[in-house]
Amino acid sequence: MPRSEASSPAPRAWHDQPDAGGHFGPYGGRFVPETLMPALEELAAAYEAARRDQAFQAELGDLLEHYAGRATPLYEAKRLSEKLGGARIFLKREDLTHTGAHKINNALGQVLLAKKMGKKRIIAETGAGQHGVATATAAALMGLTCAVYMGTLDMERQALNVTRMRMLGSTVEPVTSGSCSLKDAVNQAIRDWVTNVRTTHYIMGSVIGPHPYPLMVRDFQAVIGQEARAQILARAGRLPDLLMACVGAGSNAMGLFHAFLDDPVAMIGVEAAGHGLDTSQHAASLGAGRPGVLHGCHLYLLQDEHGQVHEAHSIAAGLDYPGVGPEHGLLKDVGRVQYTAVTDAQAVAAFQELARVEGIIPALESSHALAQAFVTAAAMPRDAILLLCLSGRGDKDVASVAAYLEKNS
């Protein structure tokens, strides 16, 4: 990755995105049934107030530090760098947070906000189960009831997380429509919200959905990049050359990238290529989709010639979504971030490699970023710095990886 590619001119200051209607350039906005519009206005106003409320920010900061375990370490994977013979690789260890993934950052922020708004009930969708577990955890902590919608396919491949959510006192609502995965869980959660909007807050798990969700989730995740930026400056005395993160709907990537958008730092977002981009079995919305409207916002979307949404595929349940957050769409269009994709097979190989070389079992989602990093870092000079968001830990994935290896050996 040559350093000259590091910076591209931004159309407007990145911290000013989105506009008042939630638009990131042509993406984002609010495309929901009328029943939800007043609730979104209320949420946007409550969030704006919380954003400026020092007491709210202090309470959240306290929870992030003492409950979730922040700041997470920035670990230099020296054995990995040596083996690859390329750039220094730093891992932002979101896998070490309480509940084991970056999802807790957003869940704590939104549950705290819901409580301030007087909502008694929380709902969420989940794919890999990490957002569901994080939400169930935060709801338990604050004494709110919680229902998590999850596709039956995901319940099967992430059975451990289903058990965790139930132990935390949440109900898990099986979703049997469509592909029985994340997209369908979002549909069902929205239907619940339309029905119970007066008492219920819907915690979207990623930087998608109607305004203010893409903004709010990005802000709650931006702590990843803010910490990483300070940590790398303290450790290496300079900014990294390249950031890397996996992209399903895109929350960990936005969280890492946001604090660096005005810096001369290159960025790569890694989507799930599933069985390959030349097949229909993938989840690369930026790589192979085109703009459309789903789940309340205008975004890059996998869809057929008639505008029907494709079912995505990835071995990583958390990437198995046919759209990608609106801010990523803008970052792609202006060339600020480069997006690539890696296959199921590459992700599984990276999963195994990190476990063996560094003693860290990464989530299959994060393994997509690792797979790309192995290729990219090897071609970078030894003194270059690649900083990667290790968004979650892989305990939940060991059974699926074992099954995959058995089937494909």
């Binding site: 049934p33 029943t35 939800l36 505008g307």
Partner: protein
């Protein structure tokens, strides 16, 4: 703007009753049967007929219309296919037609192209439930240029001060959602719901029709006193889903439609 919808409401009002507005999912169980079902609804006395263009992710719909959309898509229904089927009915159906779909299929075909093709197919209006006024400007421009009514929804959660914003965009009729919920859920005509309907109707300056959850003739009759029109969808679609043959579907839908129409006076 189309005059057909306004005229249909005016005719019902002159006859001293609320307009009967049935909904069916386009392409369920196949296009030919949908055409027969729509003809049957027309003969049963429908004042306006709503036809769904199926979408893969119908987030405002309950289980019945979700299932109907899925089956229609599995049977090969497309937005253009539904419009072509409707075009084939031109001159054979008296009631004005309204299509209901989600924004992505409209956006995918192109706003101008969709509006023009709909009008060419004899469609008088369109409902796009996931397109609020805040995002509607490009669609309004395209629909108005083509002469297509743009029907918007008001909900029990809509504050009175928001109504003017909806009404600015709305033509044909205002669609009042009877409850916070998805299509086909249970109807509860609580006093505050009826009050919300009255407020919206007084502000509207155009006919108001109530939908979501109206399944039985007695419910339709109760609403006829407070609304200019009553929309019935899931209850009819359910009959099509459950029918063992197209003939039986036509028979069942025609039967319920006549009962509903009679209940409206």
């Amino acid at each position: 703007m189309s005059q057909a919808i306004a005229q249909a409401f005016a005719a019902a009002r002159q006859a001293g009753r609320a307009a009967f507005i049935p909904f069916l999912s386009g392409g369920l169980p196949d296009m030919a049967t949908t055409a027969r079902l729509l003809t049957e609804l027309d003969q049963a006395g429908a004042d306006v007929i709503e036809v769904g263009i199926p979408f893969s992710d119908p987030m405002a719909d309950g289980p019945v219309i979700q299932e109907a959309s899925k089956r229609a898509l599995d049977a090969g229904a497309t937005p253009v296919g539904v419009l072509e089927m409707l075009a084939g009915l031109r001159g054979r159906i008296k009631a004005p037609l309204v299509v209901m779909t989600y924004y992505n299929p409209v956006l995918n075909l192109g706003l101008e192209a969709f509006a023009q093709r709909a009008v060419q197919a004899g469609v008088s209006g369109a409902i796009v439930p996931d397109l609020p006024p805040e995002e509607a400007a490009p669609w309004l421009k395209a629909a108005r240029a083509a002469g297509l009514d743009t029907i918007f929804m008001a909900a029990p959660t809509t504050p009175p001060e928001r109504l003017p914003r909806l009404l600015e965009c709305c033509s044909g009729f205002l669609y009042y959602v009877s409850m916070t919920g998805v299509t086909g859920a249970g109807l509860n005509l609580a006093p505050e719901v009826l009050a919300g309907i009255r407020t919206a109707r007084a502000a509207a300056g155009l006919p108001l029709a109530v939908g979501f959850g109206v399944a039985q003739p007695s419910q339709a009759a109760a609403l006829a006193g407070v609304a200019d029109g009553v929309i019935v969808g899931s209850a009819l679609v359910k009959l099509v889903l459950e029918a063992a043959s197209p003939e039986l579907a036509v028979q069942a839908v025609g039967g319920l439609a006549r009962e509903l129409r009679a209940a409206l006076g």
